[in-house]
Amino acid sequence: MTFQEIILELQDFWSKEGCAIIQPYDLEKGAGTFNPATFFGALTERPTRCAYVEPSRRPADGRYGDNPNRLGKYYQFQVIMKPVPVGITDVYQRSLKSLGLDPKRHDLRWIEDDWESPTLGASGVGWEVWLDGMEITQFTYFQQMGSMPLSPVSVEITYGLERIAMSLQKKNSVYDLDYGGGLTYGDLHKSQEREFSRYNFETADPALLSRHFNEWESEAGRLVDLGDPLPAYDCVVRASHLFNTLEARGAISVTERAHYIGRIRGLARKVMELYIRTRTPEVLGAA
């Protein structure tokens, strides 16, 4: 099964489970959780069922294309559902089977792994799912967001697509994966990894990044004051990625780090509060 067939299969599977298949959100972000479909979707009382591919950028994880298992940018496949369907862990197990990963023939383990994002005041309880020792999925029941208890609870399932593909295709290097269309994953991503590693670790301009951080931060604050949570949220996502880049660049000291995180968290919370305040019950959930 090629990389793209895995995506197509998962989209098909979750579409049949009643999910809307939405598109990636067009901003750099560290995880699919930052997609407004999850960030705002989990906040409201309205039922939510959607699934999407999300490119995730983790500047500090880049390895210049040298490490066969670590990437500065990779793909997550994310499912977000609320209320939680009964037997969701069984549904997930079936989705693996649809990819050709028969749980009978593999070692499938659920390892305690609670999730916490101090920047979002968010936390969840769940597992990482191991397939023959490899972590292929994060499975989380959201409990809190913006430091508020969530009701109803949402479940978030995040598949690590590259890892699943490596297991299915029995490849030891991510770059050797058959992507589909006659291309390898390396054809599509290796130079990107190399150049972005150099950028993130060596050539990014810390002064420019921190200036941008400050600008997007104040813009977010201004938009919150104007009462527009969605554009304000985009500013927060941008600031968050700038912070990640600054950190990879080694431009943030330990004490500054806590301070930066505090600033992002404060903004995210304001946006969340504003969002809840400004949605009328009928449109709650329509991010």
């Binding site: 066969p68 209320p83 023939r105 070692d107 659920w110 390892i111 305690e112 023959d132 009701s151 609870v153």
Partner: protein
Amino acid sequence: MSKKVAPNKGVDFLLDVHTEPLPARFVAPALEQIKCAATRFLEGRLEHGEISVAGTLRHLILRISDVAPKGKDQVQLFKGPKVQAARMDDGSVSPAAEGFARKYGLKPAQLKDVDGVLYAEVRSAGETANALVLRMTNDILQSLQFPKVMRWEESGFKFGRPLRAITALLDGKILPISVAGVKAGRAVHGHPALAKKPAILKTPSQHESLLRQNLVIADPVERRRYLLKALDLAVKNTGGCCEGDESLIEETVFMVEHPVAILGKLRDEHMALPAALLKMVMKKQLKFFPVVARDGALLPFFVGVRDGLSMSNELIREGYQRVLEARFNDAAFFVARDRATSLESKLPLLERVTYQKTLGTMAQKAARVSDMALWIATTLRQTSPVDERATARAARLAYADLVTDVVKEFPELQGQMGGVYARADGEGERVALAVEQFYFPIVAKSPVPATAEGAVVSLAGKCDSLAGCFVAGLIPSGSTDPYSLRRQALGLLRIVLEKQLPLDIDEALERALALQPAGASDLLKLRAQLSEFIWGRAQSLLDEMGYAVDEVRSIRAGALKNFPNAFRRLAALRAVRRDPAFEPLTAAFKRAANLLKQTKADDGLAPDRALLRETADLELYDALVRAEATANDRFVRDDFEGGLKSLASLKPHLDSFFETVMVMVEDETLKRQRLALLNRLVRAFRRVADLSEIQETEPPRVEAAR
């Protein structure tokens, strides 16, 4: 306690709470709670046979045998009026007593007189077993505690992980429980990947075998046996065995329902990485068991434990090896990056690591530890000389590995990696070993640093941590001890004891306190507090070694000035105490000490033989002088037992002194002389122990407060 009742009298109860996978660490404590809660609930209410629990990450199981059909009749007493108030003057029943009796459906004559007060005794028939077991089960499900709970459905019910099904049968009937949208039934859910459909349970007794058929070994003890056997079998041809790691075994028992062991191989290129790092990656990141030779050396194998059957094991082995190799490649990348620069050149990075808000950076801590280490080495120069150059070098490098990638990834490898990197940098073995063992002893019974240099540097680190945290107000209380100061204090004591270092701990801590950046308001008070804290650890250490509480108390004076010496004094006391003549000696000693205390005569006046009068005075004086001389000879040779025995020879002279002379005579000069004589005697003994602390019959050993 559960009472055994005659077999066949009652019926069996079974509860199986089926959940989504619980964290391994949740299961055993939950089972323990379930057993306790059931036992407590049924006590006095319902007769039953054995109560047992079993479980896996997906099943919490309670079994009760021989449950009686009906609960015991319950008797309740209600307090009423006093007996005097129940009778009118004419002897008739008072309205108050009548009303009280009526309220409980009794006649006044049926009220019970208990110590002059009337009680109404109300009997109620026992509830049915069904009603009681239902209430018990609901109680258990509602009150079960987990380290962390979650919500997942609309009722907001909290549990360790979502409930999926409840099997609850009393005899053959379903117990009507309903929690968080889950209704109890007969379905038994086997292994999630291997069992086909849920099995149907007809009677409680079939439950275990039904689970077994569906590839769930429910009993943790049996599962553990099964696992250990599987591990043994897997390594049969390697010439080694799985490294016995109790916490990994326990975790594995609660991570799989049907363990199958799979042997895999490590690649030669990875065997060049530090063994401690390889083991850590296997155990912590992947829950694999390292395979070691008889001498503990790592062999190029590992064992992974899968959940299920031996089906397509080859595929899984490949998967295990692929992921392990990826992790080792990552580790190799970190090691290579760490090795690109020397430990020395990493030191400036410590300036960017905060140790504690008020205590500054790790660089500052490292400087203090260097200062302390040098000071300790200097004070011990006469008695226990160390290679001061190596000590200073090791102290300088002790914290450098904290900024390495490997230690950032695996904090447990602090020290160990420092040692590895120090060797690679070409530091001498003395330096490398001291760095490696800087955090020794890691746990209560693990070894202290092997070398004198290692001991000194390690002591310096511990003194600084203890002093710093006390200054910062991070004094352990109750169960909170975030900087594990108790362990550090115990480590400090064990090092000086096992390495026989006559370090003045009080003085060392005073110096460590003075070095702290945040000036404390009351250093004297802190010093006393810290000294008491260390002494508390010393008490518990000595208690664990088998010394009685009173013996330990008697050597308190000066104990921290020279702990190995205090320990020898304690051992001497213990040895001499076995002598039957010792107890009367203690009594005489106490009499002398009390007299001195009452008269506040501890003024250091030396007794003068010329001013003493009676034979008993003079005999005691002469004997004391002789005994002191012998004892002194022995004390300087650290023979405290011999010294104490020479002093004990004074017993008959002391007895005849107390029998024949009065201490508190009118003659002021004589009185003062006699007190001075006793004072000299008491002081002589105190060089070993304060015998007035010794209780007449040896008290039972008590566990010192933690």
